[in-house]
């Protein structure tokens, strides 16, 4: 996302309020949509079996990686390379570290049973942690500008062209990350009136560096 309600500032406190408001709306909307559409909830049982096997595998495997250690490597790589201040080289290095962990994820091993088992949970989480980390790094590399919390040291300021674009991340056919560039629809008049253009958007012509 280029900007949500809080502009290009994507820091924790703001995104929390975002998720409380929009997360709730999205959840309610999704429930409403399912109800009103009468979609069949029937699921192909072979798909269920495959998923079940995948989820249980870490418990059944004889040997494998410790999920807590992979988690820690992801945390450290992201702290070092995907912090506020970033540049192409460091982001690239971070991406390589994450891709290396990604390769090892299918081989995680958890001990114990399915009852309240944090190690087993970690062996599921690590898959999503590496995935979201890869998304963050790839989109940060793609966004070749300095904007808000994307403090690219290798760019001087925001680019007008990228200012008009959102990145939409999808899975491609191989299940890998696919980044689509989507033009942002212009801000409705009643909202744009609230912004002084200079403060709200920034842009090269104004020579502003950030929209904090």
């Amino acid at each position: 996302m280029r900007r949500g309600l809080h502009g290009a500032n994507r820091l924790g406190g703001n995104s929390l309020t975002d998720l409380l408001v929009f997360g709730r709306r999205a959840g309610e909307g999704a429930a409403e949509y399912v109800k009103s559409n009468g979609y069949s909830t029937e699921i192909d049982s072979s798909q269920l079996e495959t998923e079940k096997r995948r989820v249980l595998e870490p418990l059944e495997r004889q040997d494998g990686e410790n999920p807590y250690m992979l988690q820690q490597q992801v945390q450290e790589a992201m702290m070092e390379h995907a912090n506020l201040m970033r540049n192409e080289e460091s982001l690239q290095e971070g991406l390589e570290k994450i891709l290396e962990v990604k390769e090892r994820v299918p081989n995680v091993k958890a001990q114990g049973s399915t009852l309240f088992n944090p190690g087993w949970h970690a062996s599921q989480d690590i898959r999503y942690l590496t995935q979201i980390s890869e998304i963050i790094l790839r989109t940060a590399l793609e966004r070749k500008e300095r904007r808000g919390a994307q403090w690219r040291l290798d760019y001087d300021g925001p680019s007008d062209e990228l200012g008009k674009i959102n990145f939409i991340v999808k899975k491609d056919e191989q299940g890998e990350i696919d980044i689509e560039r989507r033009e942002i629809s212009p801000m409705p008049e009643h909202l744009s009136r609230l912004f002084d253009e200079g403060e709200g958007h920034g842009g090269e012509e104004e020579g502003k560096e950030s929209q904090f």
Partner: protein, 291 residues
Amino acid sequence: MSNEDGRQDAEQKDMASKAHANVHQDETDAAQGTTKLKIFRGDGEGGKEVEYELPAVEGMVVLDAVLYIQAHQAGDLAVRWNCKAAHCGSCSAEINGKPKLLCKSRVEEYEGQEIHVHPLRAFPVIKDLVSDVSWNYETSRSITPFTTDEQAPFIMYEEDVERLYEPKKCIECFMCQDVCHVLRTHHKHPEFAGPRFFTRMQWLEMHPKDTESRLRGLKEEHGLGYCNITKCCSEVCPVDIHITDNSIIPLKERVADEYYDPAKWLMRKIRGRRSPKTGEIIGRNGNRNGG
């Protein structure tokens, strides 16, 4: 942990003293010897203490130690935590028989003593250090929530609002519930809401804009009378709420005033009950629509 290709071995060594939690490399260099923890391992059916040894790190809290053990020695060790900052109330458990927030209790505090870590005892154990506190949420739902006929923002006197700050500090760690003998020893769970909820009801009852009365519920379904003011709850509260003095006693006074004052009792017999807040007559059984 198994390690077939040596990589894991090296890695483990590399990270040996960096817990999944707060213990980082630089801190490890300051590690002085080792420390031992005896942790309850088991579930609702039973279990036993298991001893673990780990590198001692200056300033380490018991939660750090537990998470270190989890990351390096016992991957399936169950513990509940979230904030690591004594704010969320998730990590409550018992250290040497006393309820504590694991993230707020330093290992050093127990120097010269063994450290035994167990789950909260007043509730059923799920696994290891995690007990099932859902009874508390059910109890919470049985309390009439804030009710008002006015539209916020409210205009209130500062001294009225100040009284609400203290009960509002509660982080729902349920350690007061765990230590209270009415729940812990006498298992009066269905008839006794417990100190945490007396605190909550005090907040509601003292809110200047709330129009409900919960006194009848306090006397009957929530069992306020079972409390014999031992103050154990206040002693363990991590946010220093004076539960007994500032929540329970004022509520007991209000209940006594309402139900055990003979003059009031007679008035109620004759004219029905008056709301203690609004003075409006609300019926003989505390039912707003009369009755």
